[in-house]
């Protein structure tokens, strides 16, 4: 029996290479973060919105407020746990949205070439000339802050990453024998693109997506920190760090712990991304 891998001559995602320690740590970190954010409502020691004026600006104290309280007396650990859901939700949905756009355009441009390809490639060049932060400021100025705007800005500024990788891979795959064979037996272009080429590009797409999600977390947090991302009062990690800005001189823990959460999570995702990339392309280690 012929598996689809053999039929399309594809490479496996992880061709029998042992897991490296970095990837292991990364999976562990990301797994913990996902688990904690899913369980947030049950394991949070306090209600994340509960304000207690008598307990404001408490330094970390075990077991009541392990990470301290903020300027309104809210428990920081509970807010970080709940914020994890929003922060990872935004990054994931933006990565998926920009992936759908970037991958489809990349498949289309790479396979058909010609004028659509040059046109899309020039649009990608133009897009990359406007730095993410700059475009985000422009959009925030006109359209205002909001969850949907945030996801849209993140997707609009990152689809190019998928587009370039997928386009380059399709350009190469187009001349492979299995594509010629598929064409010879009369497969339609759509069938060739989705049944034969796409499975071979999936591995690269996963690597791009992983590394992008890490960047998205930082982007989202930066925008929310500047007040250009989520609406006020939404406890994303970026917002939580910015809550501590006015207490920089007195209460370090308000900004420190949410920032550590971002740092550790992003590092975990990057470790996974590096591991995937190395297993796909041994030269890049």
């Amino acid at each position: 029996m012929i598996t689809s891998q053999e039929r399309t001559g594809g490479k496996e995602l992880l061709p029998g290479r042992p897991m490296n320690p970095g990837g292991m740590i990364g999976l562990l970190i990301v797994g913990c973060v996902l688990l904690l954010s899913l369980l947030a409502p049950w394991i949070s020691p306090h209600d994340p919105e509960l304000q207690d004026i008598n307990r404001r600006l408490q330094p970390p104290t075990w077991p009541d407020h392990p990470l301290g309280t903020d300027g309104l007396g809210r428990d920081i650990l509970s807010r970080i746990l709940h914020g994890a859901r929003i922060s990872s939700g935004i990054s994931l949905s933006a990565a998926v949205l920009s992936g759908v756009v970037g991958v489809s355009l990349g498949l289309f441009a790479g396979y058909f070439g010609g004028i659509p390809d040059s046109l899309l490639s020039r649009i990608a060049d133009i897009q990359q000339a406007v730095p993410f932060m700059v475009l985000a400021i422009g959009v925030a100025a006109v359209a205002g802050a909001g969850l949907l705007n945030l996801v849209l800005v993140l997707s609009v500024t990152t689809w190019v990453n998928y587009f370039r990788v997928v386009r380059a891979e399709v350009l190469a795959a187009r001349e492979e024998q299995y594509v010629w064979a598929a064409r010879a037996v009369g497969c339609s272009s759509v069938r060739i693109i989705f049944r034969h080429i796409l499975p071979n590009v999936v591995a690269s797409i996963i690597v791009v997506a992983t590394l992008l999600i890490a960047n998205m977390m930082i982007f989202e947090a930066s925008l929310s920190f500047l007040g250009l991302g989520v609406p006020p009062g939404t406890p994303t990690w970026g917002r939580l760090v910015s809550d501590g800005r006015e207490y920089v001189t007195s209460a370090w823990w308000i900004s420190f712990f949410p920032g550590m959460a971002i740092f550790i999570t992003v590092m975990g995702i990057n470790l996974i991304g590096d591991w995937l990339r190395e297993s796909l392309d041994p030269r890049s280690s």
């Binding site: 000339a129 406007v130 740092f263």
Partner: protein, 309 residues
């Protein structure tokens, strides 16, 4: 070479044209630009008069042509908050941002170049592992959080550096570290992997075999070849550096473009924002152009066989 230069120049102009479309569309993103440009409580007849005066009641393509013809003459409109020409304010702040970006780039290069080279030469040594861990940290640390932590430590606790504003070169240090940390990690990582690839090539073996020292192999043969991906990386880093400097400027109240732009959002000062987006994009385009030319100079294959681009 001349045709290559011309081709890159045309490409740069094309990208700038695209940016003008983006900036124009930005204004129409909210539906009616008049509602964004005017204060909220403007009476309807004044809104109507304003729309007519600004040409906002004409078809979009005509509006775009008017917009571009004004933009080419450097007319981005009138800043409502600062009560003067928008371009003038932006250009006033530009040198401060350039200074910060230059400082951030120098900071990242000064650390990244030796770190990347040592890590590649002493692969798998203690130093290499240290550099790799640093790269991992540098790429994961959020700039704004790093800025706050640095401020707490060096400005508030130790009182070595100023907290905010601009009072001489000491004010540049913390913003530059904030804006440059990500680039530092990326450049070090790229240089390391670029060098590792080059060091495995046959001509390096030949150079070693004929008795050159490690330093000679590195400076005469390896670095120039490994520099190619690193130089192209600098083009990508420009966007990161400019973006990172926006955040650093806001946190340290550093009087540059980013600080101006983020404040202008609060004032709904759209002409300043449009001018800011255009100037930032123009800088990226210029850097890309320069990098393309340096690239071609480093690698003759690019200027001779450019057709595949």
């Amino acid at each position: 070479m001349l045709s290559y230069v011309l081709q890159r120049l045309c490409h740069g102009l094309l990208v700038l044209w695209g940016v003008s479309v983006i900036v124009f569309l930005l204004m129409h993103l909210s539906g009616d630009p008049a509602t964004v440009l005017l204060p909220l409580d403007t009476p309807p007849e004044e809104v109507e008069a304003f729309r007519h005066k600004m040409g906002l009641d004409r078809p979009l393509p005509i509006q775009y042509l008017l917009f571009v013809s004004r933009m080419v003459r450097g007319d981005f409109g009138y800043s409502y908050h600062y009560r003067t020409d928008a371009l003038e304010i932006v250009l006033q702040r530009l040198p401060a941002t350039l200074r910060l970006a230059a400082a951030a780039l120098s900071f990242s290069l000064i650390l990244a170049l030796p770190a990347g080279a040592i890590a590649a030469l002493k692969k798998d040594s203690f130093l290499d592992v240290a550099v790799r861990v640093l790269v991992l940290i540098g790429q994961a640390v959020p700039g704004f959080w790093l800025a706050l932590m640095l401020m707490m430590l060096f400005s508030v606790r130790l009182r070595w550096l100023p907290v905010s504003g601009y009072t001489g070169w000491r004010s540049l240090i913390l913003p530059a570290v904030t804006a440059g940390s990500f680039s530092m990690a990326s450049i070090a990582r790229l240089l390391r992997s670029g060098l590792l690839e080059v060091l495995g090539k046959d001509y390096i073996l030949t150079a070693r075999a004929k008795g050159l020292s490690s330093a000679q192999v590195l400076t005469r043969h390896a670095l120039k070849n490994a520099a190619i991906p690193a130089v192209s990386m600098i083009a990508i880093q420009t966007g990161w550096l400019l973006g990172g400097s926006v955040i650093a400027e806001v946190i340290f109240a550093y009087p540059g473009l980013g600080y101006l732009a983020v404040n202008s959002i609060g004032y709904r000062d759209l002409p300043v924002i449009q001018c800011f987006v255009t100037v930032m994009a123009a800088m990226v385009v210029v850097v890309n152009l320069v990098v393309d030319l340096v690239y071609a100079w480093l690698d003759p294959r690019i200027r001779l066989y450019q057709n595949d681009h």
